[in-house]
Amino acid sequence: MSPGSASASAAVQLSVRNIHKSFTGKGAGVRVLDGLNFDIHEQDFVSIIGPSGCGKSTIFNIIAGLIEPDEGRLVYRGEEVASLRGRVGYMMQKDLLFPWRTVLGNVLLGLEMRGVSYRAAVERAREHLEAFGLGGFENAYPKTLSGGMRQRVALIRTLVMDPGILLLDEPFSALDYQTRLYLEGVLKQAVEKFHKTVVLVTHDIDEAVALSKRVVVLSGRPARVKAVHDIEIAEHSPIAARSDHRFAGYFRTLCNELDIQTETKSAAESATRFAPAGPTEAVAS
């Protein structure tokens, strides 16, 4: 396996090896993934960023077992597997709460699939709801909750199954900025408390830097790994991480890597948002 990254001591949990995938549309097929390789370590927090439409979600669908790759292997804890179906916690931009189930019923979903006894499942679900500040909302239907609360329920539903890897596909991108910051914090705390491995697909560079230990940058379609960056920000909270002195540097590096050519200037500007504001910025706005 490829050693490469700085955290050499961490064991590899999941290896994605040489994954190819193309979709047959009208006429010529579209090559989405073209020999994709990367490793996820135990208790890793990896963000995957790349130009939109480069096939980030396709990778997740392959790992979760929703679609099959044309070619390539997945190696999970030393064992070659077809997919991680049943062992992942998948969370998407849409909360995907079942409208006919109450909050409690939604959280129970994964445990039901696993055949956990009802009583044990309810107890576990209640504990989690309590821990995430949703005690008392057990019998509410999703329709009556705010967007942030719904996504928090989705997060609890994902965590309560105790999955091997959390696959988060732009989970917060439909939320307003304050709710997003809050939920990023909730996620980070939960992940550290339960020692979870997270793979986060995001289009939000700032979110990627603030949350991750490592960031994988993909090229445009067909997607290949362009670079892997270790993020060495000691701060644990996503808000504190944003004011770390290295934050702006990482942000700029990643922006340049994504070839945001015409917007390089504005990207650099938004990076300085987090540095002490100069008088020029006031004039510019």
């Binding site: 049943g86 998407m92 079942f98 006919w100 189930r101 994964g110 699939m113 696993r114 999703p142 009556t144």
Partner: protein
């Protein structure tokens, strides 16, 4: 400047309008509306009776409210009306339940196999395009003139409606929810029971409303063709004797039955899909 002056009278106007609205809302309550509705019915009956009295409306062809009332009292007193209503109600409900139940089950089951669904689709369309009432003579031949033929006719009217609606709803079930279940390790049965079936419940209940009416149609048409009992029998017989007052009693009884069944369905809906009813208390007013 002009903007400010233009705004001022508007503000005044809306303030003046408010007590006006409050006055109107006196009728816009449950009791107020019931009063207006009863008033409309009473006015119609009075006009009808007066028309007959002054020779504008033919008593022979249209009947008269006073005569309808007298007939109603006689038939209700003898228990004749109640027993006929009971027959029709029983046939309609039985046909509705059997047709809707098996139709829905069959429609949901088609979700399991796209192959089978595509195979049977042209047959379903073909059978559905036949006006089911046209089957009535054969059904009477096959099932006799008793209860079974009426129920069978009601089933033939309701089953395909339920089947098509249930299949369509199963096809339209949110694929993202199904994908989520797959990622959790669900098999096809679990996807069916936990995602597909619950998401079809609202559509299936929507077909209840349509099918309860079709159940009544089946029962009444069956009774028209050949029967000893039921409101259809009552209406058909009375009309062949030009006994319009009795016809009207039968029609009003049917109306009441349909009305009552509609509200029963409403109640069932509230019990079965509380997650949907929660927010439907307020309608957007334009």
């Amino acid at each position: 400047m002009s903007v400010i002056t233009a705004e001022k009278p508007q503000g005044l106007q809306s303030r003046r309008r408010r007590p006006d609205k409050r006055k109107r809302s006196l009728f816009n309550t449950t009791i107020g509306r019931a009063f207006l509705q009863a008033l409309a019915v009473a006015a119609l009956l009075v006009l009808w009776q007066a028309g007959v009295r002054f020779g504008v409306i033919s008593d022979f062809l249209f009947g008269a409210p006073a005569g309808i009332y007298a007939t109603f009292m006689r038939m209700a007193g003898s228990g004749e009306l109640l027993s006929d209503t009971g027959y029709t109600l029983f046939e309609a409900i039985l046909g509705f339940v059997i047709g809707t139940f098996f139709g829905s089950i069959a429609g949901l089951a088609l979700w399991y196999s796209i192959f089978v669904a595509r195979l049977v689709e042209p047959f379903i369309v073909a059978i559905n395009s036949v006006p089911k009432i046209a089957l009535a003579p054969i059904i009477i031949l096959w099932f006799g003139t008793g209860l079974v033929s009426k129920v069978a006719l009601a089933v033939s009217l309701t089953a395909l409606v339920a089947l098509i609606a249930a299949y369509q709803a199963a096809k339209d079930a949110d694929t993202d929810l199904q994908a989520l279940l797959i990622s959790m390790g669900a098999n096809k049965h679990q996807i069916f029971y936990k995602a597909v079936v619950p998401s079809t419940i609202p559509s299936i209940i929507a077909t209840f409303r349509i099918n309860i009416g079709f159940g009544l149609v089946g029962a009444v048409v069956g009774e028209f063709i050949s029967s000893q009992h039921g409101l259809g029998h009552l209406i058909y017989n009375a009309s062949s004797f030009y006994d319009l007052n009795t016809v009207w009693v039968g029609l009003f009884a049917l109306m009441l039955v349909g009305f009552a069944l509609y509200y029963v369905i409403d109640l069932i809906e509230r019990m079965l899909i509380p997650w949907k009813v929660v927010t439907v208390t307020h309608q957007v007013q334009v």
